[in-house]
């Protein structure tokens, strides 16, 4: 076997290992996803799931980070979306049914992508691990192979929510990602306006409101960040874009 062949085989093996190896972020992300999916399973429509993965994939190219992205839609009336470490993103059917076009969906996806790339939830898990270690003086339960316990610990994090600053940052980066990709930043305002129409005691939006700053506050932060100075797409969305979004909406 020639030297070149050996090098090629070695590179293939290294690349393959890199692709196959599960990072700690992915391990945490899978456990957190399991907890959310335990509460609400995925919808069963392949075409819809393919569409949301294509859109998510096209946006992820502008996130500045490399992950193995997986986008799913869960059967739930809830108005919510979840970003799990390692590139796992779940959107509730209830939230999606309130959107009007692909540009609005792009903002929702880009906001969640930003949570992943900024490692917002993963950092909370890491802090919890350190606190557990300090408290117990031994390997924390969340660091061992017990994925079920890790899932439960993640559930608490998602029930509690992140700091407001993390949500504002994801709004900001999300708008940057969608605008770079070619979507209209005004769609972010449309989405926040829609969220504001839900009352705090509406069971569908209760968790969203208890874990996020108010939509009005989020809008103010985006406006003060200069969202209105961003370039808007010159061309109107193609009929095909509107058509595929409506098809998606009808199938969830």
């Amino acid at each position: 076997m020639s030297g070149k062949n050996i090098l090629a085989l070695t590179l293939c093996a290294v690349f393959s290992l890199a692709v196959q190896a599960q990072t700690d972020e992915e391990k945490v992300g899978k456990s957190a996803s399991a907890q959310v999916l335990g509460a609400a399973p995925l919808i069963q429509n392949d075409a819809s799931l393919k569409y949301v993965n294509m859109l998510g994939g096209s946006l992820s190219a502008y996130s500045g980070a490399v992950y193995k992205w997986h986008f799913g839609v869960i059967k739930s009336d809830a108005i919510n979306a979840f970003a799990m470490p390692g590139g796992y993103i779940l959107l509730s059917a209830g939230l999606l049914k309130n959107l009007e076009n692909e540009d609005e969906l792009a903002f929702v996806l880009a906001h969640e992508i930003a949570h992943v790339t900024r490692r917002h939830h993963y950092q909370v898990v890491q802090r919890q691990r350190l606190a557990d270690q300090a408290a117990k003086g031994l390997e924390a339960v969340t660091q061992d192979g017990d994925t079920a316990k890790l899932a439960q610990a993640s559930g608490q994090i998602y029930a509690r929510g992140l700091d407001k600053s993390a949500e504002f940052e994801s709004d900001r980066l999300g708008v940057e990602i969608m605008t770079k990709a070619g979507y209209d930043p005004v769609a972010a305002v449309n989405v926040l306006e829609k969220l504001q129409r839900f009352k705090g005691d509406d069971p569908r939006a209760e968790l969203l409101f208890s874990t996020h700053p108010s939509p009005a506050e989020r809008l103010d932060m985006l406006l003060q960040s200069g969202i209105d100075k961003l370039p808007r797409p010159k061309a109107k969305p193609s009929p095909a874009r509107a058509e595929r979004f409506q098809k998606f909406l009808q199938s969830i």
Partner: protein, 190 residues
Amino acid sequence: MNIKNPITQILHLFVACLMLMCFNVNAQTLREDASLSDKAEGAPGATKLKAGSSVKVLKRQGFWVEVDAGGKNGWLKASQLNFTGATGGPTAIDTGRLGTGNIVATSAARGLSAKDLVSGKPNFDEVKKLDSLSFDPAGIEGFVALGGVVPSKEKIQLAAAKPAAPPSAASSPSGTTPAPATKKKDDDEW
């Protein structure tokens, strides 16, 4: 008053609903001194408003809002208003653009509660399904082209803003008492 006629009852209900709609206004305060424009993205006109003035948002077009400032209608940049500090109506940024009928609270619909997430059982079989979902990188180009999505060539960057200070307890009538405004450097740029 004893109303027995069902038609009269319906009429009274209709009038009551109309009144409720009229009072459910969205009053916001101005972050800075501003002049009303005669159209969205128009140049500032002669009607000047002081920071802290209260205006009623009538509708939004892109990043601009049409407002009623004490009887004078005109357009302002949305960034000139403080939405967090809205004083009237429960829906601070609901500009009525979407109508009122599409979001109805219903006891049948339920969301995901904090309890569901904390005490629910993890479902790793569903994770396997999620793991199998992804996108074909080779198909992205076609997906983007079909949607007529044209990536921006301009530099896209937003600056982190500071959270707004809590709104002042009382808002003043339009153009009378200027409230302390947290003015940002670039806000006067048109």
